[in-house]
Symmetry: C2
Subunit: 181 residues, 2 copies
DNA sequence: TTGCGACTATCTATCAGTTGATAGGCAATC
DNA sequence: GATTGCCTATCAACTGATAGATAGTCGCAA
C-alpha cells in the first residue's frame, strides 16, 4: 500500500529535523515537501509538539524493528550490526540520528517530546544490556551506557568536520572497550 | 573592569544557545537580555553567523584556558578534572556543552560556525591525546576520540531524562576504558 | 581654549518574509 | 448526513536585517 499523507509528512519532518533541527523545521516547509498547504498539515498534527512526539515515536519503533532483526548469536557480529544501524543514520552533510538532535535541543523542547526521546535511549541501552549480559560481558550496565553515548556523540563530533573517519574510529573504540572494561 | 556590551551579548547568547539551540535564539531575545535594542546587537555582530562564530570561538578559548590549568602529574586525577569540566557544563534543565548543540545542528549551520565547532573538538582530542601519550596509555588515539564522543554524547543522552546519574555513569565508564582499551 | 571632524554606541522606524495556529468552506467518501 | 481531508484566507507575533537620526567622546589643529 502507498504511504498515507500522515506518513509522508513524518518522512519529510524526519528528514528536516535530522538535517537542521526541530526548531528550524516549519509546517510550511513540510507542506511544500508533501504538496499540501500548511493548514492541512495541522489537520494531521494539530500542534508542533504533537508532530514532534509522533516523529520520535515512529523513529523509535522503526529502530526497534531493526534491532530485533540483528543476529545476536555472535557478540562481535551483533555489535558490528548495531554500529551499522548508527552508521546508516549518519549521512554526512545530510542527517544524523533524530534523537541526537532531539537530545541536544531537549532543554527547549516540549516535555512530551523529551519523554519519547528518553524512551529511545532507554530502549537502546536495554537492548545492549541484555545482549552483553547474555554474553557474560563484564560491567554490562556501564558498557551499554558508554556505547550509546559514544555513538550519539560520535555523530556530533564528526558532523561539523564532515568526516566519517572520526565516527568510524569512535565506533571501533567503543566496540573494543566492550571486551575490556 | 566591567564586561563590555559585546561580552554581555555573548554571555546572553551562550546561555540561550546552550539552552535551546542556535536557530532558536534571536537578536531580539539577546537585546532584551542585555537591555538594548536588536538593531544595536547588529552593530556588535552584523549577522547571525558572525555572532555564532564569535560565540564558539570564545567558548573554545575559555575551555582551553581551563584545560591548561589542569594538573596532569597523575593520569587519573587529570582525567577526573577533565570530566569535571564537562560536568560543570551540564546543568540539567538549563544547559549542555555549547559545541554539543552546535555539532548536532551542524548540517543547518553556516560553514564558519562549523569550522569553529570542529576546532573545539579537535582541541579537546589533541589535549587528551598528548596526556595519554605522555602517560604511556595504549591506543591513545582511539581512546581520546572515544572519551570526547562519550562525554558529548553523555550530555545528550542525559538531557531528555534530566538525569545526572546517566551522565556520571557514562563519564565513569569512559575513564575506566582508558586503562583497558 | 576652542572648535571641528571622526568615531562609537545607541536609538527609532521600518522592511519583507516567516512562524504556528485558527476559522470556515467545499468536495468526496462512507 | 456525518466524517474525512483538503482548501482559502487570515491572524498576531516574530525573524534577520537595514537606513538614518542622535548623543557622547576623543584627538587634533587653529
Amino acid at each position: 500500500m502507498p504511504p498515507t499523507m500522515k506518513e509522508k509528512i513524518l518522512d519529510a519532518a524526519e528528514k528536516r529535523v535530522r538535517g537542521a533541527g526541530f526548531s528550524a523545521m516549519s509546517f510550511r516547509d513540510l507542506a511544500g515537501d508533501v504538496g499540501i498547504k500548511s493548514a492541512s498539515v495541522h489537520y494531521h498534527f494539530p500542534t508542533k509538539p504533537d508532530l514532534g512526539e509522533a516523529l520520535v515515536d515512529r523513529y523509535t519503533s522503526q529502530f526497534k524493528e531493526q534491532l530485533d532483526q540483528i543476529d545476536t548469536s555472535d557478540l562481535q557480529t551483533a555489535l558490528n550490526s548495531y554500529v551499522a544501524l548508527y552508521s546508516q543514520a549518519l549521512v554526512l552533510d545530510e542527517s544524523i540520528c533524530l534523537c541526537a538532535i532531539m537530545g541536544a535541543e531537549a532543554i527547549g523542547l516540549p516535555k512530551n517530546v523529551n519523554q519519547k526521546t528518553k524512551t529511545f535511549f532507554k530502549m537502546n541501552r536495554t537492548w545492549l544490556l541484555e545482549l552483553l549480559q547474555r554474553k557474560g560481558v563484564q560491567n554490562p550496565d556501564d558498557t551499554s551506557c558508554l556505547i550509546v553515548a559514544a555513538l550519539e556523540g560520535g555523530m556530533i563530533v564528526a558532523s561539523p568536520s564532515n568526516d566519517r573517519a572520526i565516527f568510524d574510529q569512535i565506533a571501533k573504540a567503543a566496540i573494543q572497550s566492550v571486551t575490556k572494561i
